[in-house]
Symmetry: C2
Subunit: 338 residues, 2 copies
């Protein structure tokens, strides 16, 4: 069978990572990526051998920057079997009509609303629901982390109620324009945050309330979880159960903070120090009075990348859930952080 | 009746604020403050007219800095009716023997363990328990904020269970040596944090679990609260009830973060921009499924100051709870932030 032809619309934080991850697979290939400005990331795309597609009126700017242009974004969509839309949140929906007209499938990211695709995806939680679909939305980083964890907890012990507090990074490491520099922002002040409802787009039966705050840090998000369980296990049972899932990494306590976690990933030679796994601090896992507590860190730039790869596989029915996740994990090195 | 003679051991972040607050009262006076180094705060004490007491071997250093020394710390304790110990956490306990030998009463801060005094104090929660006592410990900033809020909620609605997440400032604004600069530190990783047990030193019957993280910010702490109530009220009832307590301030949502709160306090001409009140975001108050949620900010440098003043009044039986809190509030301007 021919490889699935994948295009990336928006070669930024998520797009460039999905391009690299797809390139590692033997059943799909990148046929091009789009960029609107000839910046350092456009040069990276070119250097990595990805054909550059740009809006028609930007072609001169790219040529001036000595970047070869393969065609317009419309051209790219016509050639692709599937477009991974990694444009900024709220922009992706504007491309829906183009994707429909071009006859390609499309995957949006969590910055778009559920309705854009009508199906929100997390590989562990609902891979089968994406089989053969034309449009899929991969949920955001925080929702991805929550879905992975809650799916596993629910399957094993039954989840009665979840109270999660999300401490969010204020900006990505490569973003010098956003804040806060020195503040804690309850965000939103009115409850709940959108993350709880977003988890329900994937796992509709989970009773979850989330509160979130934006912080003066760039490295990772951190969650505190409180989960009421129907059949509460011992803390060690939870550790054992989670340790079997490659997309969850149990961290030892010498990894004291998000800073040590990132240093650990750099030492592990991860590309861009990407951490694709949920990081759960093993010593934080505590079951008390029927409720599980834990601390979990989430690398906002990286965690959704394997989900995009699996979504492609489901949409083209290239594999079942276990087969796809295993293939993605092995090709990328997921589960081999320690 | 003569004014109560108050000495401050440790004229730092807390000590200098307690000295100013005591100076505003008509039933107590500062007879001296201690300092171990002739730094800018020692000069401030001198400028504000507080007699400086120093360790015997440091007298030459202070004289070299042209700071007049009134005597040793031992001298200060002999002259005082009560010493407010505002030395760094863990150091205060080492002075207990001196206080006992000097025949003065003593108040420690929350950096010391409960056992140092055998009684942990929060004005709203247990003023009467401090009446006539020789030794009292004023609980830390976070515990003070939690006690004020939980005492009121428990009295009105009955508190069944509290799950609080504390996002702690990494360093005070005037501290250039501490971190983190860019990280989220679950602290401690093992649960619970000490804050829950510390609340129980004041309110022993409250069922509370706390998790805490240290953040890259200096301005304030922020808590997320989840409180199961025996008789759940409407959200507006909670607003009405809290708005009646001067030591709690309900913030509007244009005060978007700890940064805006501090700017607001600066505009209000608060000394050192001190915020003595718990800040509860009004719009965050949500009662759902029998559980109250809210966001609360805590100014770590300021919130315990009125409690120290009230503790002195209780220990010398100068007033009952309502009288003392009213006197402290009015002299300092507490409850007049908006």
């Amino acid at each position: 069978m021919d490889k699935v032809k994948v295009a990336i619309n928006g070669y930024g934080t998520i797009g460039k990572r999905v391009a690299d991850a797809v390139s590692l697979q033997d059943d799909m290939e990148i046929i091009g990526v789009s960029k609107t400005r000839p910046n350092f990331e456009a040069k990276l795309a070119s250097k990595r051998g990805f054909s550059l597609y740009v809006p028609e009126d930007r072609i001169p700017a790219f040529e001036e920057a000595e970047l070869e242009v393969a065609g317009t974004i419309e051209d790219m969509c016509r050639e692709a079997d599937v477009v991974v839309d990694a444009t900024p949140g709220g922009i992706g929906v504007q491309y829906k009509e183009l994707y429909e007209r071009s006859g390609c499938k499309a995957i949006w990211q969590g910055g778009e609303k559920h309705d854009v695709a009508g199906f929100s995806f997390n590989a562990l939680s609902n891979y089968d629901g994406a089989l053969g679909r034309k449009f899929v939305r991969v949920v955001s980083c925080n929702t991805t982390a929550l879905c992975r964890l809650l799916y596993l907890l629910d399957k094993e012990y039954g989840v009665k109620k979840v109270r999660a507090v999300l401490m969010r990074r204020g900006a990505d490491p490569g973003d010098s324009k956003s804040g806060p520099i020195n503040a804690i922002i309850p965000n939103p002040i009115t409850l709940p945050s959108h993350h709880g409802p977003d988890v329900k787009t994937v796992l509709p039966h989970i009773n979850i309330t989330t509160l979130a705050a934006k912080l003066s840090t760039t490295l990772m998000h951190m969650h505190t979880l409180n989960v009421e369980l129907s059949s509460p296990p011992a803390s060690d049972d939870v550790r054992d159960m989670l340790s079997k899932e490659p997309r969850i990494f149990l961290a030892t306590s010498d990894l004291k903070s998000t800073a040590e976690l990132v240093e650990f990933a750099r030492d592990a030679d991860r590309p861009r120090y990407d951490i694709w796994e949920n990081i759960v601090w093993s010593d934080s896992i505590t079951v008390e009075d029927g409720e599980l507590y834990l601390f979990m860190a989430v690398h906002q730039e990286a965690i959704v990348i394997p989900e995009n790869v699996d979504a492609i596989r489901a949409m083209f029915e290239l594999s079942d859930k276990e087969g796809s996740m295993k293939k993605t994990n092995e090709s990328m090195g997921i589960g081999k952080l320690g």
